[in-house]
Symmetry: C2
Subunit: 324 residues, 2 copies
Protein backbone atom coordinates (compact mmCIF):
# COMPACT_ATOMS: atom_id res chain seq x y z
CA UNK A 1 0.00 0.00 0.00
CA UNK A 2 1.38 3.38 -0.96
CA UNK A 3 1.51 6.41 1.28
CA UNK A 4 -1.23 8.01 -0.76
CA UNK A 5 -3.73 5.27 -0.03
CA UNK A 6 -3.09 5.62 3.69
CA UNK A 7 -3.52 9.37 3.42
CA UNK A 8 -6.80 8.72 1.62
CA UNK A 9 -7.93 6.46 4.48
CA UNK A 10 -7.22 9.26 6.91
CA UNK A 11 -8.65 11.99 4.73
CA UNK A 12 -11.90 10.10 4.32
CA UNK A 13 -12.28 10.21 8.10
CA UNK A 14 -11.17 13.84 8.39
CA UNK A 15 -14.16 15.37 6.71
CA UNK A 16 -14.97 17.73 9.48
CA UNK A 17 -14.80 21.09 7.76
CA UNK A 18 -14.34 24.60 9.06
CA UNK A 19 -14.79 27.88 7.24
CA UNK A 20 -11.26 28.94 8.13
CA UNK A 21 -9.68 26.01 6.25
CA UNK A 22 -9.08 27.40 2.77
CA UNK A 23 -7.34 24.19 1.68
CA UNK A 24 -6.89 21.07 3.79
CA UNK A 25 -5.26 17.69 3.10
CA UNK A 26 -4.17 17.12 -0.49
CA UNK A 27 -1.72 19.79 -1.60
CA UNK A 28 1.88 20.50 -0.58
CA UNK A 29 0.64 22.42 2.46
CA UNK A 30 -2.57 23.58 4.09
CA UNK A 31 -3.95 27.08 3.57
CA UNK A 32 -5.54 28.51 6.68
CA UNK A 33 -7.16 31.72 7.80
CA UNK A 34 -6.48 33.12 11.26
CA UNK A 35 -9.37 35.39 12.32
CA UNK A 36 -8.64 39.10 12.61
CA UNK A 37 -7.50 40.18 16.06
CA UNK A 38 -6.47 36.64 17.01
CA UNK A 39 -3.02 35.25 17.62
CA UNK A 40 -2.06 31.85 16.27
CA UNK A 41 -1.16 29.37 19.03
CA UNK A 42 0.89 26.39 17.84
CA UNK A 43 2.46 23.37 19.52
CA UNK A 44 3.80 19.97 18.60
CA UNK A 45 4.22 16.79 20.64
CA UNK A 46 5.47 13.32 19.80
CA UNK A 47 4.32 9.97 21.17
CA UNK A 48 6.66 7.01 20.65
CA UNK A 49 5.55 3.40 21.11
CA UNK A 50 7.06 1.85 24.23
CA UNK A 51 7.99 5.26 25.61
CA UNK A 52 4.78 7.27 25.76
CA UNK A 53 2.34 4.39 25.54
CA UNK A 54 2.65 0.61 26.01
CA UNK A 55 3.08 -1.21 22.67
CA UNK A 56 -0.20 -3.06 23.27
CA UNK A 57 -2.29 0.12 23.55
CA UNK A 58 -5.39 0.06 21.34
CA UNK A 59 -4.85 2.04 18.11
CA UNK A 60 -7.98 4.09 18.87
CA UNK A 61 -6.48 5.15 22.19
CA UNK A 62 -3.15 6.05 20.56
CA UNK A 63 -5.02 8.20 18.07
CA UNK A 64 -7.02 9.93 20.79
CA UNK A 65 -4.01 10.52 23.01
CA UNK A 66 -1.76 11.85 20.25
CA UNK A 67 -4.22 14.68 19.68
CA UNK A 68 -5.20 15.06 23.36
CA UNK A 69 -1.68 15.83 24.57
CA UNK A 70 -1.48 18.65 22.03
CA UNK A 71 -4.93 20.06 22.77
CA UNK A 72 -3.84 20.04 26.41
CA UNK A 73 -0.96 22.37 25.49
CA UNK A 74 -3.38 24.67 23.67
CA UNK A 75 -5.70 24.56 26.69
CA UNK A 76 -2.83 25.66 28.93
CA UNK A 77 -2.48 28.78 26.76
CA UNK A 78 -6.19 29.54 27.00
CA UNK A 79 -6.49 28.86 23.27
CA UNK A 80 -9.48 27.79 21.21
CA UNK A 81 -8.32 24.73 19.17
CA UNK A 82 -8.87 24.89 15.41
CA UNK A 83 -6.56 22.72 13.32
CA UNK A 84 -4.20 19.75 13.57
CA UNK A 85 -1.60 18.07 11.41
CA UNK A 86 -0.62 14.43 11.85
CA UNK A 87 2.77 12.87 11.09
CA UNK A 88 2.46 9.12 11.46
CA UNK A 89 5.40 6.70 11.21
CA UNK A 90 4.36 3.06 10.87
CA UNK A 91 6.45 -0.12 10.57
CA UNK A 92 4.01 -1.48 7.99
CA UNK A 93 1.22 -0.05 5.87
CA UNK A 94 -1.31 -1.54 8.28
CA UNK A 95 -4.77 -0.49 7.07
CA UNK A 96 -6.58 -1.77 10.14
CA UNK A 97 -4.26 0.11 12.46
CA UNK A 98 -4.64 3.32 10.49
CA UNK A 99 -8.43 3.03 10.43
CA UNK A 100 -8.64 2.46 14.16
CA UNK A 101 -6.04 5.12 14.92
CA UNK A 102 -7.97 7.63 12.81
CA UNK A 103 -11.21 6.65 14.56
CA UNK A 104 -9.83 7.59 17.99
CA UNK A 105 -8.10 10.71 16.67
CA UNK A 106 -11.23 11.95 14.93
CA UNK A 107 -13.49 11.18 17.87
CA UNK A 108 -11.58 13.74 19.92
CA UNK A 109 -11.14 16.10 16.96
CA UNK A 110 -14.91 16.23 16.45
CA UNK A 111 -15.48 16.92 20.12
CA UNK A 112 -13.43 20.12 19.84
CA UNK A 113 -14.24 20.91 16.20
CA UNK A 114 -10.62 20.48 15.20
CA UNK A 115 -10.03 20.02 11.47
CA UNK A 116 -7.21 17.71 10.38
CA UNK A 117 -5.60 19.82 7.67
CA UNK A 118 -2.42 17.99 6.73
CA UNK A 119 0.28 15.56 7.64
CA UNK A 120 2.64 12.86 6.53
CA UNK A 121 2.66 9.08 6.68
CA UNK A 122 5.93 7.24 6.45
CA UNK A 123 7.55 3.92 7.18
CA UNK A 124 9.42 3.79 10.46
CA UNK A 125 9.17 2.70 14.09
CA UNK A 126 5.67 3.51 15.38
CA UNK A 127 5.60 7.15 16.38
CA UNK A 128 3.14 9.97 16.08
CA UNK A 129 3.83 13.68 15.97
CA UNK A 130 0.84 15.97 16.04
CA UNK A 131 0.92 19.70 15.52
CA UNK A 132 -2.07 21.54 16.93
CA UNK A 133 -3.04 25.12 16.22
CA UNK A 134 -5.63 27.42 17.70
CA UNK A 135 -6.36 31.03 18.55
CA UNK A 136 -6.30 33.46 21.43
CA UNK A 137 -7.33 37.10 21.27
CA UNK A 138 -4.39 39.49 21.21
CA UNK A 139 -3.06 39.78 24.77
CA UNK A 140 -5.35 37.00 26.03
CA UNK A 141 -2.98 34.04 26.27
CA UNK A 142 -2.27 32.30 29.58
CA UNK A 143 1.50 32.17 30.05
CA UNK A 144 3.77 30.33 32.44
CA UNK A 145 5.39 33.59 33.44
CA UNK A 146 2.54 35.43 35.19
CA UNK A 147 2.63 33.92 38.70
CA UNK A 148 3.27 36.33 41.60
CA UNK A 149 4.13 35.66 45.24
CA UNK A 150 0.90 35.56 47.23
CA UNK A 151 -1.15 33.99 44.41
CA UNK A 152 -3.01 30.77 45.07
CA UNK A 153 -2.08 27.61 43.13
CA UNK A 154 -4.89 25.50 41.66
CA UNK A 155 -5.16 22.31 39.68
CA UNK A 156 -8.10 21.06 37.62
CA UNK A 157 -9.65 17.60 37.94
CA UNK A 158 -7.70 14.92 39.80
CA UNK A 159 -4.04 13.93 39.73
CA UNK A 160 -2.31 10.56 39.69
CA UNK A 161 -4.92 8.42 37.95
CA UNK A 162 -2.77 7.78 34.87
CA UNK A 163 0.20 6.82 37.03
CA UNK A 164 -2.10 4.52 39.00
CA UNK A 165 -3.22 2.87 35.79
CA UNK A 166 0.39 2.30 34.73
CA UNK A 167 1.25 0.85 38.14
CA UNK A 168 -1.71 -1.55 37.95
CA UNK A 169 -0.64 -2.62 34.51
CA UNK A 170 2.98 -3.17 35.54
CA UNK A 171 2.29 -4.86 38.85
CA UNK A 172 -0.55 -6.97 37.49
CA UNK A 173 -2.98 -5.99 40.23
CA UNK A 174 -6.51 -5.00 39.42
CA UNK A 175 -8.43 -8.26 39.53
CA UNK A 176 -9.53 -8.27 43.14
CA UNK A 177 -11.15 -6.14 45.84
CA UNK A 178 -11.33 -2.39 45.40
CA UNK A 179 -8.81 -2.56 42.56
CA UNK A 180 -11.57 -3.89 40.35
CA UNK A 181 -13.22 -0.50 40.21
CA UNK A 182 -9.82 1.08 39.68
CA UNK A 183 -9.02 -1.37 36.91
CA UNK A 184 -12.20 -0.28 35.17
CA UNK A 185 -11.76 3.47 35.66
CA UNK A 186 -8.06 4.35 35.71
CA UNK A 187 -6.89 3.10 32.30
CA UNK A 188 -9.19 5.61 30.60
CA UNK A 189 -7.36 8.40 32.39
CA UNK A 190 -4.09 7.06 30.97
CA UNK A 191 -5.33 6.29 27.47
CA UNK A 192 -8.00 8.90 26.86
CA UNK A 193 -7.00 12.07 28.68
CA UNK A 194 -9.56 14.87 28.42
CA UNK A 195 -7.82 18.07 27.43
CA UNK A 196 -9.06 20.90 29.66
CA UNK A 197 -9.92 23.22 26.80
CA UNK A 198 -13.04 24.66 28.43
CA UNK A 199 -11.09 25.34 31.62
CA UNK A 200 -8.35 27.12 29.69
CA UNK A 201 -10.91 29.32 27.95
CA UNK A 202 -12.69 30.07 31.22
CA UNK A 203 -9.39 31.10 32.83
CA UNK A 204 -8.63 33.87 30.34
CA UNK A 205 -8.36 37.07 32.29
CA UNK A 206 -8.39 35.19 35.61
CA UNK A 207 -5.32 32.95 35.79
CA UNK A 208 -2.02 34.69 36.32
CA UNK A 209 -0.05 31.73 34.98
CA UNK A 210 -0.97 28.31 33.60
CA UNK A 211 0.73 25.08 32.48
CA UNK A 212 -0.52 21.62 31.67
CA UNK A 213 0.54 18.77 33.92
CA UNK A 214 2.10 16.25 31.57
CA UNK A 215 5.40 15.41 33.28
CA UNK A 216 4.10 15.44 36.84
CA UNK A 217 2.87 18.26 39.08
CA UNK A 218 6.21 19.04 40.74
CA UNK A 219 8.06 19.08 37.44
CA UNK A 220 5.52 21.22 35.60
CA UNK A 221 4.76 23.58 38.46
CA UNK A 222 8.54 23.92 38.71
CA UNK A 223 8.66 25.15 35.10
CA UNK A 224 5.86 27.61 35.78
CA UNK A 225 7.72 28.91 38.85
CA UNK A 226 11.01 29.21 36.92
CA UNK A 227 9.30 31.15 34.14
CA UNK A 228 7.68 33.46 36.70
CA UNK A 229 10.75 33.86 38.91
CA UNK A 230 8.91 32.56 41.99
CA UNK A 231 8.49 29.38 44.04
CA UNK A 232 5.52 27.42 45.35
CA UNK A 233 4.39 25.56 48.44
CA UNK A 234 2.02 22.65 48.02
CA UNK A 235 -0.27 21.16 50.68
CA UNK A 236 0.03 17.43 50.13
CA UNK A 237 -3.33 16.79 51.76
CA UNK A 238 -5.07 19.18 49.41
CA UNK A 239 -4.09 17.28 46.25
CA UNK A 240 -7.29 16.20 44.46
CA UNK A 241 -7.38 12.41 44.13
CA UNK A 242 -10.13 10.39 42.51
CA UNK A 243 -12.13 8.05 44.78
CA UNK A 244 -10.96 5.02 42.80
CA UNK A 245 -7.31 5.99 43.20
CA UNK A 246 -7.87 6.41 46.94
CA UNK A 247 -9.47 2.97 47.18
CA UNK A 248 -6.80 1.19 45.17
CA UNK A 249 -3.54 2.57 46.55
CA UNK A 250 -2.15 3.42 50.01
CA UNK A 251 -1.72 7.09 50.94
CA UNK A 252 2.00 7.48 50.29
CA UNK A 253 1.81 5.76 46.92
CA UNK A 254 -1.14 7.72 45.60
CA UNK A 255 0.43 10.95 46.79
CA UNK A 256 3.57 10.02 44.83
CA UNK A 257 1.45 9.46 41.73
CA UNK A 258 -0.22 12.84 42.17
CA UNK A 259 3.01 14.73 42.71
CA UNK A 260 5.20 13.10 40.11
CA UNK A 261 3.29 10.54 38.09
CA UNK A 262 2.83 12.48 34.90
CA UNK A 263 0.35 11.97 32.07
CA UNK A 264 -2.39 13.79 34.00
CA UNK A 265 -3.14 16.50 31.40
CA UNK A 266 -4.78 18.66 34.04
CA UNK A 267 -4.11 22.40 34.16
CA UNK A 268 -2.09 23.87 37.00
CA UNK A 269 -2.69 27.60 37.34
CA UNK A 270 -2.30 30.52 39.66
CA UNK A 271 -4.70 33.32 40.53
CA UNK A 272 -4.57 36.18 42.98
CA UNK A 273 -6.42 35.83 46.27
CA UNK A 274 -8.73 38.59 45.08
CA UNK A 275 -9.72 36.41 42.13
CA UNK A 276 -10.54 33.25 44.14
CA UNK A 277 -14.26 33.89 43.80
CA UNK A 278 -13.90 34.35 40.04
CA UNK A 279 -12.09 31.00 39.83
CA UNK A 280 -14.91 29.34 41.72
CA UNK A 281 -17.53 30.92 39.46
CA UNK A 282 -15.61 29.95 36.31
CA UNK A 283 -15.49 26.31 37.36
CA UNK A 284 -19.08 26.15 38.59
CA UNK A 285 -20.09 25.67 34.96
CA UNK A 286 -17.40 23.08 34.17
CA UNK A 287 -17.26 19.32 34.74
CA UNK A 288 -13.69 19.05 35.92
CA UNK A 289 -13.58 21.36 38.95
CA UNK A 290 -10.50 23.12 40.30
CA UNK A 291 -8.84 22.59 43.67
CA UNK A 292 -6.66 25.01 45.55
CA UNK A 293 -3.47 23.09 46.36
CA UNK A 294 -1.04 25.74 47.61
CA UNK A 295 0.46 29.16 47.20
CA UNK A 296 3.07 31.05 45.26
CA UNK A 297 6.03 32.28 47.31
CA UNK A 298 9.05 34.40 46.54
CA UNK A 299 11.61 31.69 47.36
CA UNK A 300 12.41 29.63 44.25
CA UNK A 301 11.63 25.90 44.12
CA UNK A 302 8.54 23.82 44.79
CA UNK A 303 8.12 22.43 48.30
CA UNK A 304 5.49 20.02 49.60
CA UNK A 305 4.07 20.10 53.13
CA UNK A 306 1.89 17.69 55.05
CA UNK A 307 -0.98 18.68 57.35
CA UNK A 308 1.47 19.22 60.23
CA UNK A 309 3.58 21.62 58.20
CA UNK A 310 6.35 19.03 57.80
CA UNK A 311 8.25 19.13 54.50
CA UNK A 312 7.85 16.02 52.37
CA UNK A 313 10.64 14.85 50.10
CA UNK A 314 9.08 13.05 47.14
CA UNK A 315 11.11 10.09 45.89
CA UNK A 316 10.57 11.14 42.27
CA UNK A 317 9.89 14.64 41.05
CA UNK A 318 8.65 13.88 37.56
CA UNK A 319 8.93 12.08 34.30
CA UNK A 320 12.50 11.84 33.02
CA UNK A 321 12.38 11.93 29.24
CA UNK A 322 15.77 10.33 28.81
CA UNK A 323 15.82 8.04 31.84
CA UNK A 324 17.07 4.54 30.95
CA UNK B 1 20.34 14.68 30.57
CA UNK B 2 16.76 15.82 30.85
CA UNK B 3 14.58 16.95 27.97
CA UNK B 4 14.79 20.50 29.23
CA UNK B 5 18.56 20.69 28.90
CA UNK B 6 18.34 19.48 25.29
CA UNK B 7 15.66 22.06 24.60
CA UNK B 8 17.98 24.66 26.10
CA UNK B 9 20.77 23.54 23.75
CA UNK B 10 18.44 24.02 20.81
CA UNK B 11 16.93 27.24 22.08
CA UNK B 12 20.37 28.78 22.55
CA UNK B 13 20.96 28.22 18.84
CA UNK B 14 17.49 29.40 17.82
CA UNK B 15 17.95 33.01 18.74
CA UNK B 16 16.94 34.34 15.38
CA UNK B 17 14.03 36.59 16.22
CA UNK B 18 11.17 37.94 14.18
CA UNK B 19 8.69 40.63 15.07
CA UNK B 20 5.79 38.28 14.37
CA UNK B 21 6.87 35.82 17.08
CA UNK B 22 4.99 37.02 20.16
CA UNK B 23 6.28 34.06 22.21
CA UNK B 24 8.69 31.38 20.98
CA UNK B 25 10.20 28.32 22.65
CA UNK B 26 9.58 28.02 26.40
CA UNK B 27 5.84 27.94 27.10
CA UNK B 28 3.18 25.29 26.38
CA UNK B 29 2.82 26.62 22.84
CA UNK B 30 4.10 29.39 20.60
CA UNK B 31 2.17 32.64 20.09
CA UNK B 32 2.42 33.94 16.55
CA UNK B 33 1.06 36.80 14.51
CA UNK B 34 -0.03 36.23 10.91
CA UNK B 35 0.14 39.54 9.01
CA UNK B 36 -3.17 41.07 7.91
CA UNK B 37 -4.31 39.96 4.46
CA UNK B 38 -2.08 36.87 4.52
CA UNK B 39 -3.07 33.23 4.70
CA UNK B 40 -1.19 30.85 6.93
CA UNK B 41 0.51 28.03 4.98
CA UNK B 42 1.42 24.99 7.10
CA UNK B 43 2.99 21.61 6.40
CA UNK B 44 4.70 18.81 8.28
CA UNK B 45 7.17 16.16 7.14
CA UNK B 46 8.98 13.37 8.93
CA UNK B 47 12.46 11.98 8.31
CA UNK B 48 13.24 8.56 9.80
CA UNK B 49 16.80 7.23 10.09
CA UNK B 50 17.43 4.40 7.65
CA UNK B 51 14.37 5.32 5.60
CA UNK B 52 14.83 8.95 4.58
CA UNK B 53 18.55 9.23 5.21
CA UNK B 54 21.33 6.68 5.73
CA UNK B 55 22.09 6.10 9.41
CA UNK B 56 25.64 7.41 8.92
CA UNK B 57 24.48 10.81 7.63
CA UNK B 58 26.19 13.72 9.40
CA UNK B 59 23.92 15.24 12.08
CA UNK B 60 24.36 18.68 10.49
CA UNK B 61 23.00 17.32 7.21
CA UNK B 62 20.04 15.65 8.96
CA UNK B 63 19.25 18.97 10.60
CA UNK B 64 19.45 20.86 7.32
CA UNK B 65 17.41 18.33 5.40
CA UNK B 66 14.65 18.01 8.00
CA UNK B 67 13.91 21.71 7.57
CA UNK B 68 14.65 21.80 3.82
CA UNK B 69 12.02 19.22 2.89
CA UNK B 70 9.40 21.31 4.67
CA UNK B 71 10.52 24.63 3.20
CA UNK B 72 10.31 22.90 -0.16
CA UNK B 73 6.60 22.24 0.49
CA UNK B 74 6.08 25.89 1.40
CA UNK B 75 7.97 26.90 -1.77
CA UNK B 76 5.62 24.77 -3.84
CA UNK B 77 2.72 26.82 -2.47
CA UNK B 78 4.45 30.10 -3.32
CA UNK B 79 4.72 30.83 0.39
CA UNK B 80 7.16 33.03 2.28
CA UNK B 81 8.54 30.86 5.13
CA UNK B 82 8.32 32.28 8.63
CA UNK B 83 8.33 29.75 11.46
CA UNK B 84 9.22 26.15 12.23
CA UNK B 85 8.65 23.66 15.02
CA UNK B 86 10.93 20.68 15.61
CA UNK B 87 9.96 17.32 17.11
CA UNK B 88 13.10 15.30 17.64
CA UNK B 89 13.13 11.68 18.81
CA UNK B 90 16.57 10.43 19.90
CA UNK B 91 17.71 7.04 21.22
CA UNK B 92 19.98 8.80 23.73
CA UNK B 93 20.33 12.31 25.09
CA UNK B 94 23.37 12.81 22.84
CA UNK B 95 24.51 16.40 23.34
CA UNK B 96 27.01 16.34 20.48
CA UNK B 97 24.38 15.05 18.06
CA UNK B 98 21.87 17.69 19.12
CA UNK B 99 24.44 20.48 18.81
CA UNK B 100 25.46 19.41 15.32
CA UNK B 101 21.87 18.74 14.26
CA UNK B 102 20.87 22.21 15.45
CA UNK B 103 23.85 23.72 13.62
CA UNK B 104 22.67 22.38 10.25
CA UNK B 105 19.02 23.15 10.96
CA UNK B 106 19.78 26.73 11.97
CA UNK B 107 22.13 27.33 9.05
CA UNK B 108 19.20 26.83 6.69
CA UNK B 109 16.75 28.59 9.03
CA UNK B 110 18.92 31.70 9.04
CA UNK B 111 19.17 31.64 5.26
CA UNK B 112 15.39 31.99 5.00
CA UNK B 113 14.86 33.95 8.22
CA UNK B 114 12.81 31.14 9.71
CA UNK B 115 12.36 31.33 13.48
CA UNK B 116 12.27 28.07 15.42
CA UNK B 117 9.32 28.70 17.73
CA UNK B 118 8.65 25.39 19.44
CA UNK B 119 9.00 21.65 19.47
CA UNK B 120 9.49 18.53 21.49
CA UNK B 121 12.44 16.29 22.27
CA UNK B 122 11.82 12.74 23.32
CA UNK B 123 13.49 9.36 23.63
CA UNK B 124 12.84 7.04 20.70
CA UNK B 125 14.27 5.71 17.45
CA UNK B 126 15.96 8.59 15.60
CA UNK B 127 13.28 10.51 13.76
CA UNK B 128 12.57 14.14 13.06
CA UNK B 129 9.24 15.78 12.35
CA UNK B 130 9.34 19.41 11.37
CA UNK B 131 6.32 21.65 10.98
CA UNK B 132 6.91 24.70 8.81
CA UNK B 133 4.64 27.71 8.52
CA UNK B 134 4.65 30.69 6.21
CA UNK B 135 2.39 33.15 4.42
CA UNK B 136 0.81 33.82 1.06
CA UNK B 137 -1.40 36.77 0.21
CA UNK B 138 -5.09 35.90 0.05
CA UNK B 139 -5.71 34.17 -3.30
CA UNK B 140 -1.98 34.03 -4.11
CA UNK B 141 -1.12 30.39 -3.33
CA UNK B 142 0.18 28.02 -6.00
CA UNK B 143 -1.99 24.91 -5.97
CA UNK B 144 -1.68 21.49 -7.57
CA UNK B 145 -5.08 21.90 -9.13
CA UNK B 146 -4.53 24.76 -11.59
CA UNK B 147 -3.01 22.94 -14.61
CA UNK B 148 -4.93 23.16 -17.90
CA UNK B 149 -4.50 21.21 -21.13
CA UNK B 150 -2.19 23.16 -23.39
CA UNK B 151 -0.04 24.53 -20.55
CA UNK B 152 3.70 23.97 -20.63
CA UNK B 153 5.35 21.87 -17.89
CA UNK B 154 8.55 23.18 -16.30
CA UNK B 155 10.96 22.02 -13.65
CA UNK B 156 13.49 24.09 -11.71
CA UNK B 157 17.19 23.21 -11.38
CA UNK B 158 18.29 19.68 -12.29
CA UNK B 159 16.80 16.28 -11.54
CA UNK B 160 18.32 12.98 -10.48
CA UNK B 161 21.40 14.18 -8.60
CA UNK B 162 20.21 12.90 -5.23
CA UNK B 163 19.38 9.50 -6.71
CA UNK B 164 22.83 9.47 -8.35
CA UNK B 165 24.41 10.16 -4.98
CA UNK B 166 22.49 7.29 -3.38
CA UNK B 167 23.50 4.96 -6.21
CA UNK B 168 27.17 5.90 -5.81
CA UNK B 169 26.93 5.28 -2.10
CA UNK B 170 25.25 1.92 -2.55
CA UNK B 171 27.39 0.64 -5.41
CA UNK B 172 30.63 1.95 -3.92
CA UNK B 173 31.71 3.73 -7.09
CA UNK B 174 33.07 7.25 -6.94
CA UNK B 175 36.81 6.83 -6.49
CA UNK B 176 37.93 6.81 -10.11
CA UNK B 177 37.57 8.69 -13.42
CA UNK B 178 34.69 11.09 -13.90
CA UNK B 179 32.92 9.70 -10.84
CA UNK B 180 35.38 11.64 -8.70
CA UNK B 181 33.72 14.91 -9.58
CA UNK B 182 30.34 13.32 -9.06
CA UNK B 183 31.43 11.93 -5.71
CA UNK B 184 32.32 15.45 -4.66
CA UNK B 185 29.21 17.17 -6.01
CA UNK B 186 26.24 14.80 -5.82
CA UNK B 187 26.06 13.98 -2.09
CA UNK B 188 25.36 17.64 -1.34
CA UNK B 189 22.25 17.40 -3.52
CA UNK B 190 21.11 14.44 -1.44
CA UNK B 191 22.05 15.79 1.97
CA UNK B 192 21.59 19.53 1.62
CA UNK B 193 18.73 20.17 -0.79
CA UNK B 194 18.10 23.85 -1.52
CA UNK B 195 14.41 24.60 -1.15
CA UNK B 196 13.25 26.66 -4.13
CA UNK B 197 11.64 29.37 -2.04
CA UNK B 198 12.64 32.24 -4.33
CA UNK B 199 11.30 30.35 -7.34
CA UNK B 200 7.99 29.72 -5.60
CA UNK B 201 7.66 33.41 -4.73
CA UNK B 202 8.56 34.43 -8.30
CA UNK B 203 5.92 32.08 -9.69
CA UNK B 204 2.99 33.71 -7.86
CA UNK B 205 0.59 34.90 -10.50
CA UNK B 206 2.45 33.00 -13.24
CA UNK B 207 2.32 29.28 -12.51
CA UNK B 208 -1.02 27.57 -13.06
CA UNK B 209 -0.09 24.66 -10.80
CA UNK B 210 2.96 23.72 -8.75
CA UNK B 211 4.31 20.80 -6.68
CA UNK B 212 7.67 19.97 -5.22
CA UNK B 213 9.50 16.94 -6.56
CA UNK B 214 10.20 14.83 -3.51
CA UNK B 215 9.03 11.36 -4.54
CA UNK B 216 10.24 11.52 -8.17
CA UNK B 217 9.06 13.57 -11.13
CA UNK B 218 6.60 11.03 -12.52
CA UNK B 219 5.03 10.41 -9.14
CA UNK B 220 4.71 14.07 -8.18
CA UNK B 221 3.69 15.34 -11.60
CA UNK B 222 1.11 12.54 -11.47
CA UNK B 223 -0.34 14.03 -8.29
CA UNK B 224 -0.45 17.47 -9.86
CA UNK B 225 -2.25 16.05 -12.91
CA UNK B 226 -4.74 14.14 -10.74
CA UNK B 227 -5.53 17.26 -8.74
CA UNK B 228 -6.00 19.24 -11.97
CA UNK B 229 -7.97 16.54 -13.83
CA UNK B 230 -5.43 16.47 -16.68
CA UNK B 231 -2.44 14.46 -17.92
CA UNK B 232 1.05 15.31 -19.08
CA UNK B 233 3.58 14.37 -21.75
CA UNK B 234 7.27 14.63 -20.90
CA UNK B 235 10.13 14.90 -23.37
CA UNK B 236 12.79 12.61 -21.90
CA UNK B 237 15.56 14.45 -23.71
CA UNK B 238 14.48 17.77 -22.24
CA UNK B 239 14.98 16.68 -18.62
CA UNK B 240 17.57 18.96 -17.03
CA UNK B 241 20.55 16.92 -15.79
CA UNK B 242 23.63 18.28 -14.07
CA UNK B 243 26.96 17.94 -15.94
CA UNK B 244 28.35 15.74 -13.16
CA UNK B 245 25.40 13.37 -13.34
CA UNK B 246 25.86 13.15 -17.11
CA UNK B 247 29.55 12.32 -16.71
CA UNK B 248 29.05 9.72 -14.02
CA UNK B 249 26.12 7.66 -15.30
CA UNK B 250 25.01 6.23 -18.67
CA UNK B 251 22.01 7.80 -20.41
CA UNK B 252 19.31 5.29 -19.42
CA UNK B 253 20.37 5.23 -15.79
CA UNK B 254 20.52 8.99 -15.34
CA UNK B 255 17.17 9.35 -17.07
CA UNK B 256 15.74 6.84 -14.60
CA UNK B 257 17.11 8.92 -11.73
CA UNK B 258 15.57 12.08 -13.19
CA UNK B 259 12.15 10.52 -13.76
CA UNK B 260 11.76 8.51 -10.59
CA UNK B 261 14.72 9.00 -8.28
CA UNK B 262 13.11 11.26 -5.72
CA UNK B 263 14.68 13.58 -3.15
CA UNK B 264 15.18 16.31 -5.78
CA UNK B 265 13.23 19.08 -4.02
CA UNK B 266 12.88 20.98 -7.27
CA UNK B 267 9.57 22.60 -8.23
CA UNK B 268 7.53 21.19 -11.09
CA UNK B 269 5.04 23.75 -12.36
CA UNK B 270 2.80 24.57 -15.29
CA UNK B 271 2.22 27.85 -17.09
CA UNK B 272 0.21 28.83 -20.11
CA UNK B 273 2.02 29.25 -23.43
CA UNK B 274 1.15 32.93 -23.23
CA UNK B 275 3.11 33.15 -19.96
CA UNK B 276 6.31 31.51 -21.25
CA UNK B 277 8.08 34.82 -21.50
CA UNK B 278 7.05 35.71 -17.94
CA UNK B 279 8.49 32.42 -16.72
CA UNK B 280 11.77 33.21 -18.50
CA UNK B 281 11.88 36.70 -16.99
CA UNK B 282 11.07 35.42 -13.51
CA UNK B 283 13.94 32.93 -13.62
CA UNK B 284 16.44 35.33 -15.19
CA UNK B 285 16.99 36.73 -11.71
CA UNK B 286 17.25 33.32 -9.99
CA UNK B 287 20.16 30.89 -9.61
CA UNK B 288 18.30 27.68 -10.27
CA UNK B 289 16.81 28.20 -13.73
CA UNK B 290 13.70 26.50 -15.08
CA UNK B 291 13.49 24.08 -17.99
CA UNK B 292 10.49 23.33 -20.13
CA UNK B 293 10.10 19.54 -20.07
CA UNK B 294 6.69 18.89 -21.63
CA UNK B 295 3.07 19.82 -21.88
CA UNK B 296 -0.26 19.36 -20.15
CA UNK B 297 -2.80 17.28 -22.07
CA UNK B 298 -6.40 16.34 -21.50
CA UNK B 299 -5.78 12.57 -21.32
CA UNK B 300 -5.05 11.49 -17.74
CA UNK B 301 -1.68 9.98 -16.81
CA UNK B 302 1.92 11.01 -17.31
CA UNK B 303 3.69 9.68 -20.42
CA UNK B 304 7.34 10.02 -21.37
CA UNK B 305 8.57 10.32 -24.97
CA UNK B 306 12.04 10.15 -26.48
CA UNK B 307 13.32 12.39 -29.29
CA UNK B 308 11.69 10.10 -31.90
CA UNK B 309 8.30 10.37 -30.29
CA UNK B 310 8.53 6.82 -28.95
CA UNK B 311 6.89 6.19 -25.56
CA UNK B 312 9.31 5.19 -22.81
CA UNK B 313 8.21 2.88 -20.03
CA UNK B 314 10.23 3.76 -16.92
CA UNK B 315 11.11 0.79 -14.75
CA UNK B 316 10.22 2.69 -11.57
CA UNK B 317 7.79 5.54 -11.30
CA UNK B 318 8.76 6.90 -7.92
CA UNK B 319 9.54 6.44 -4.30
CA UNK B 320 7.37 3.86 -2.56
CA UNK B 321 6.93 4.93 1.04
CA UNK B 322 6.01 1.48 2.25
CA UNK B 323 8.14 -0.65 -0.13
CA UNK B 324 9.95 -3.41 1.73
Amino acid sequence: MAEFDLIELIRARAMHSRGDVVLGIGDDAALLEVPAGQRLVACTDTLVAGVHFPEATAPQDIGWKSLAVNLSDLAAMGAQPAWAMLALALPLADVRFVEQFAEGFMELARQFEVALVGGDTTRGPLGITVTAMGFVPEGGALLRSGARAGDAVFVTGTLGDAAGALEMRESGIGNRGPETRAAAALPARLNRPEPRVAAGLALRGIAGACIDVSDGLLEDLGHLCCASGVGAEIDADALPLSPVLQEAFPAAQRRGFALAGGDDYELCFTASEADSARVARAFAALDCGATRIGRVVAQPGVRVFDANGKTLEPRRRGWQHFAT
